[in-house]
Amino acid sequence: MAELNAETGAPHSERHTIVRRWLVAAAAVRGRHHEQEGTPCQDRVQVVERDGVLAVAMADGAGSARHAEIGAQCATDVVCELLVSAFDHLWCCRSGDLPHQLLAPLLAQLEQSAVAQSVHRRELASTLLFVAVKGRRYIAGNLGDGVVGCERTGQTAVLCYPQRGEYANETFFVTSTQAPQQLEVQLGTTDGMAAFCLMTDGAADILYDRRAQELAPAVQKTWAWLDTSPPAAVSQALEANLRQFCHPTTGDDCSLAIVRRVAMSPITLRTRPAPYQRAFLGNGTAQGARNRLRVLEALSPHPTHPISIAEVSKATGLSPQAVRRHAQALRRVLELDAEPLPGGLTPVGHPSPLSTSG
């Protein structure tokens, strides 16, 4: 297992380094019903990446609620913020407390929005789905008729199944009195995890086999798009596919988010288009991404001994300050640390942060 250089945060590896990064693509498409009525899409997807946490939340506004799109936006905003700011706290909560920890701040915010809109809270009803990853840990959850899936050790699986009533149009919402009992939260390690997906019931109408209770083959193929194409392009492709395939099947709004753990060497990353490199390296400018890739390359190819910032600076022609800044940023966005797991869990068989291969 490679170790990190204390000064630069770079690994010591023997040969080609593989770096890992969670990337997200998502799309929400207005359903046929809402298009015909001229009403807005009531699905919302939110992605927040900050402080080493990537959080994705999705909400499907209830058709029977008058301001469902406002409620759905509120739900995704609040839950993403909570997952990013309180990931460690939530992770350490007893499982029975988790639904309350997540729902109480959300319901408080919904109440404020309801007062601002002069409506009852139930007019802001929506379902809720989320996935957050931090280092080697994930938190996933579902309330309502959406689906959360994953790919673990090469196999697709359903993490959270849809919750429905007897009738096809009945489900549970964050404002339902049964919400705390119905909110299913899953905690786990990302060991062996290659991807997550979240979908509202509209997308599940074509991507989830209700009889077999398994994900459609299209999901697994979709995850792989993020291995080669930038998230923005994949998001556009998701939207186009949802429009093409969901519209004929369902009148409902459709949302899909895919969260992919991409693993590649800096050499491979260099062959990717510039927008992909920018997304992978977490740098929005073309020049910044180029510089950061050079730092990554300098840190990773054959450092059998600790490499100093001065050496990287010399190799890249960048100032020591710039090298330090890029190295810190790489630590934030890439999976670098085999971080210890709270709660006495010991990492087992975890691939090294910038592990060697070949």
């Binding site: 046929r32 019903h33 209830a62 058709g63 029977s64 139930r122 009803a125 008729d145 009533g165 007897e166 009738y167 096809a168 149009n169 009945e170 489900t171 549970f172 919402f173 404002t175 339902s176 049964q178 019931d201 599940a204 109408d205 074509i206 991507l207 989830y208 086999d209 209700r210 009889r211 459609a216 083959p217 299209a218 193929k221 979709t222 798009w225 194409s229 392009a233 994949v234 492709a237 186009a240 596919n241 093409q244 395939f245 099947t249 369902t250 009148g251």
Partner: protein, 222 residues
């Protein structure tokens, strides 16, 4: 980056059983029964042309006028040829509602057995008068189903002579609606839109009605 048809799993359409329970008693004779017959043709055509309603609705028709008859068993609108109704006899509404509820329960069971998703059954109860038989048990049964969120009941009084109070015991949630005179066409245009409008609701709640309800109904009687 495109999905292929074999890689997706389009779900089977959910079914919505609708039973029309229609008063064709003697007092409907003349213009009302003619309008009902015309409205029925329009209704079937409208359901068939409404994309959402056509995909899910299966319609049965029970009439009460002298006797109670199952005139049409559950079928998609396109496959139904409604007979011309003839007005005659008394108003055995209790017996008719009992038969309608039995038919809806059987249909629901057949969906369950086949693993087909389904929506809350609908019972549309239309009368221009009031029951002339024992209706209490039928009303109790329909009320329990409505309260449990297992039935959507649309109670409609036809014209000014209908006794809306007689419909109320069947429908604990939706107040009886009085169809304005000669508004059969409007009603049967509205109904498919409501059937197609199956917004998701919290568990245990009935289905929302299409807002165009005022096109045919007088103000609701609370």
């Amino acid at each position: 980056m495109e999905w292929k048809q074999p890689d997706i799993r389009p779900k089977a359409k959910g079914k919505l059983p609708v039973c029309l329970c229609l008063d064709i008693s003697g007092t409907m004779e003349g213009e009302p029964i003619q309008e009902l017959n015309q409205g029925m043709q329009r209704f079937l055509a409208e359901v068939d042309s409404d994309l959402e309603a056509r995909e899910c609705a299966e319609i049965a028709i029970v009439t009460f006028g002298g006797s109670v008859q199952k005139v049409v068993d559950f079928a998609p609108a396109a496959g139904i040829k409604a007979p011309a109704f003839v007005a005659d006899g008394l108003t055995p509404m209790g017996e008719a509602v009992t038969l309608a509820l039995d038919l809806l329960a059987q249909r629901k069971q057949s969906y369950k057995d086949a693993g087909t998703e389904y929506f809350q059954p609908w019972l549309v109860l239309m009368t221009d008068g009031e029951p002339t038989d024992h209706w209490e048990d039928a009303a109790r049964r329909s009320s329990e189903l409505v309260r449990a969120g297992s039935l959507v009941l649309i109670p409609v009084g036809i014209g000014s002579g209908a006794n809306l109070e007689a419909l109320r015991p069947f429908s604990p949630q939706l107040p009886p609606l009085r169809m304005q005179d000669h508004k059969f066409n409007e009603f049967f245009r509205w109904l498919p839109k409501s059937i197609g409008n199956r917004s998701r609701t919290p568990t245990g709640q009935g289905a929302p009605l299409h807002p165009d309800i005022m096109s045919w109904a007088d103000a609701m009687i609370r």
